[in-house]
């Protein structure tokens, strides 16, 4: 073949050129080497091409079923039974890239630097999503306190990283809703205070037992409606009156009230009980006695 007649110098220069080309272009990175931190504390590696995809990460306790908004956002989360943490990755410039499938990986890294959950995501051409999500459990059996990380990879290249902290709860019930039940004869609506507070009441004509329930430590970050119910239970253990409440947790403390008649034709003497439920879970109860005068 004629190319075997090339001079040694030409061959040497050619090999040198190949070496240079391979060294310079092999495995081109599409990102800058140093990260930039945005106001959301996400570290992201700027694309060399300005309209390439970049990502912003937001952590939240959950995504509202009602509004679709992230609820309980932050960077510090409590390790808690049945709790979870969701990362929402906003893809910037996603609409500009619409002619090819896109490959992402969301890699959750624990406090020892080990990857504990890798979620690969392919956005097909038809999928125009501009957000990626991934959730992890915060159950104390599988998580321990420390600084964790979420890394976002785009076509195998790190494009964003954000850390968050997991902490232990000081008390196991510190995130629970607290309920205080008080019983009395009458509720003063202007002061929201009970009058004649007691746990023993006489059965009398046109007389009531009034309850006032104070709920505190409500999850104000949550925009979903909380449902409570109050059940009045007679000495035989049967519910003779039930009242439901739907509450939007806009303040940490709210009051519920309910009353029942204790006239002689409706009630017998004995031990009664008022039970408060949150959903199906019993939150609190209060016993009281009725007697004939």
């Amino acid at each position: 073949m004629t190319f075997t007649k090339l001079s040694d110098r030409t061959i040497r220069d050619g090999l040198f050129l190949i070496l240079i080309v391979f060294s310079v272009f092999y495995g081109c990175s599409s990102r800058e080497n140093k990260f930039v931190e945005d106001e959301n504390h996400t570290h992201f590696f700027l694309p060399k091409v300005t309209d390439d995809i970049s990502a912003d990460v937001l952590f939240c306790r959950k995504i509202s079923k009602k509004s679709g908004k992230p609820l309980g956002t932050g960077n510090i989360f409590k390790i808690k039974k049945e709790a979870s943490l969701t990362a929402i990755v906003e893809l910037k410039n996603r609409p500009l890239i619409h002619n090819t499938d896109l490959m992402f990986h969301l890699d959750w890294i624990d406090s020892e630097g080990k990857s504990f959950f890798l979620k690969p995501i392919i956005l097909t051409v038809k999928d125009t999503s501009t957000f990626l999500t991934s959730s992890i459990s915060l159950d104390p059996e599988i998580r321990s306190p420390g600084i964790y990380n979420l890394r976002v990879y785009y076509f195998r290249e790190l494009i964003a990283e954000k850390s968050f902290e997991l902490i232990n709860m000081l008390r196991e019930d510190e995130d629970d809703i607290f309920a205080k039940i008080e019983l009395g004869r009458k509720l003063n609506k202007s002061t929201n205070l009970l009058e004649s507070v007691d746990s023993v009441f006489a059965i009398r004509r046109k007389s009531n037992v009034q309850s006032l329930i104070t709920l505190s430590n409500l999850p104000v970050w949550d925009d979903e409606t909380l449902t409570f119910s109050i059940e009045w239970v007679n000495p035989e253990g049967k519910t003779f009156f039930k009242k439901k409440f739907s509450v939007e947790p806009k303040a940490e403390t709210i009051h519920l009230n309910s009353s029942v008649s204790v006239s002689p034709e409706k009630r017998e003497p004995g031990q009664y009980q008022l039970i408060l439920y949150h959903g199906r879970k019993q939150l609190a109860s209060k016993r009281f006695s009725l007697y004939k005068k």
């Binding site: 075997t4 272009f25 020892e112 080990k114 990857s115 076509f155 790190l158």
Partner: protein, 379 residues
């Protein structure tokens, strides 16, 4: 039965040492790259996150470090294929019978499988556990060696056809759906086709590499009698392989497994390795041929630059088995160093290991040359 290829010319015999130098040196270079990959595996904290089946790269340095190791398996398989072809024909030219010549490679292949199941599998964890029922790269080389004896006498173009056909066939077989929880399915599929816990290096694609290595040996060691020809034909073949690989990759269809973004990006170069896609096989075939070509060229211009690779390249199995054992035992004894460093730690680890391994390899090579012991000759 066909006659074996008349392969060894007097000229080749005279230049046997010279001809072997670039093969030995390239194999030694591959060994050093593998050592770098293993020091990274043991000392580089990126391995706390890196899934070799689905690799992600937090930096360019980590990408280069990981990708350097990708050359090792195709390099070893091709060199093994080349040396099987060369040794077989040399034995035949010495008057050794056909079956006896093949039997030597069958024994050697079986020994490699046994070494994988015993020494290699145990050395990864510093000999803490014995896990014989697991295959890997050494077993894959061994089985490929055995299979290669079946076609070693075929003409180069017939072997080329077999190699390319198996690569294509493997790309088709990858679509086979199987239940990896059923032992026999896992063993059969992961021995030959797919990769998983049982075996990351299935035989079919790597055997194809060994076959192509044996084909290249025809050129390197027989047909191309001058270094100039070896360099030019090597460049042409590597160029064709790269061209075909790029064509397949850019089609984004058959022969590809993972998506990629842009030409020559990380994702372009890193298609699936375990097991390799057709693109990866062709690409790395091209890279190995290009690498050997460069070694021939460098050997002509600055031969001293490659001397360091000669000794490990002459005793590759010893180099592999011993460095892995040292790393495994060291990190078991000093767990504080296990995956706590970065790229620089991996590089320092490689240099220190070379300071240990080079004298050991030289010592063992001396023993191997003098010894008539069957096992030592085989290693």
């Amino acid at each position: 039965m066909k006659k074996p290829e008349k392969s060894v010319k007097p000229h080749a015999v005279q230049n046997e040492k010279k001809r072997f130098d670039f093969i030995d040196q390239f194999r030694g270079f591959i060994g050093v790259l593998m050592l770098l990959g293993h020091t990274s595996y043991y000392f580089n904290s990126v391995w706390k996150q890196l899934d070799p089946f689905d690799p992600l790269f937090p930096s360019h340095a980590q990408f280069l470090l990981r990708y350097a190791g990708y050359l090792c398996a195709p390099g070893f398989l091709m060199m093994a294929g080349a040396m099987v072809w060369w040794s077989y024909n040399r034995r035949i030219s010495k008057g050794i019978g056909d079956w006896q010549a093949r039997w030597y490679f069958i024994q050697r292949g079986l020994l490699l499988v046994i070494i994988q199941m015993t020494w290699v599998n145990s050395s990864w964890g510093g000999f803490q556990t014995f896990r014989p029922f697991h295959l890997g790269i050494i077993a894959s080389i061994g089985i490929s060696m055995i299979l290669l004896t079946l076609i070693i006498r075929w003409k180069w173009y017939a072997r080329l056809g077999v190699g390319l056909f198996i690569m294509l066939l493997h790309a088709v077989l990858l679509d086979i759906d199987y239940d990896s929880t059923v032992i026999w399915q896992r063993v059969v599929m992961q021995t030959f086709v797919d990769a998983g816990d049982f075996n990351k290096y299935p035989v079919l694609p790597w055997f194809a590499m060994a076959v192509l290595g044996s084909v290249m040996a025809n050129g390197w060691l027989k047909f191309w009698e001058t270094d100039k020809k070896r360099i030019l034909y090597g460049l042409a073949i590597a160029g064709c392989a790269f061209g075909l690989a790029i064509f397949i990759r850019m089609q984004r269809g058959f022969g590809n497994i993972d998506l990629f973004s842009d030409f020559f990006s990380y994702s372009f170069l890193v298609d699936q390795k375990y097991p390799p896609s057709l693109f990866m096989n062709l690409w790395f075939f091209g890279l190995v041929v290009l690498g050997v070509t460069f070694f021939i060229a460098i050997g002509k211009i600055v031969p001293k630059l490659l001397v360091i690779f000669t000794i490990p390249g002459k005793v590759p199995m010893f180099f592999y088995g011993v460095h892995l054992a040292i790393l495994g035992v060291f990190t078991r004894l000093f767990p504080q160093y296990y995956r706590e460093g970065g790229v620089n730690t991996a590089l320092i680890g490689m240099v220190l290991m070379l300071l240990v391994m080079l004298p050991l390899c030289r010592w063992f090579y001396g023993i191997k040359r003098r010894s008539n012991n069957y096992l030592i000759q085989m290693i």
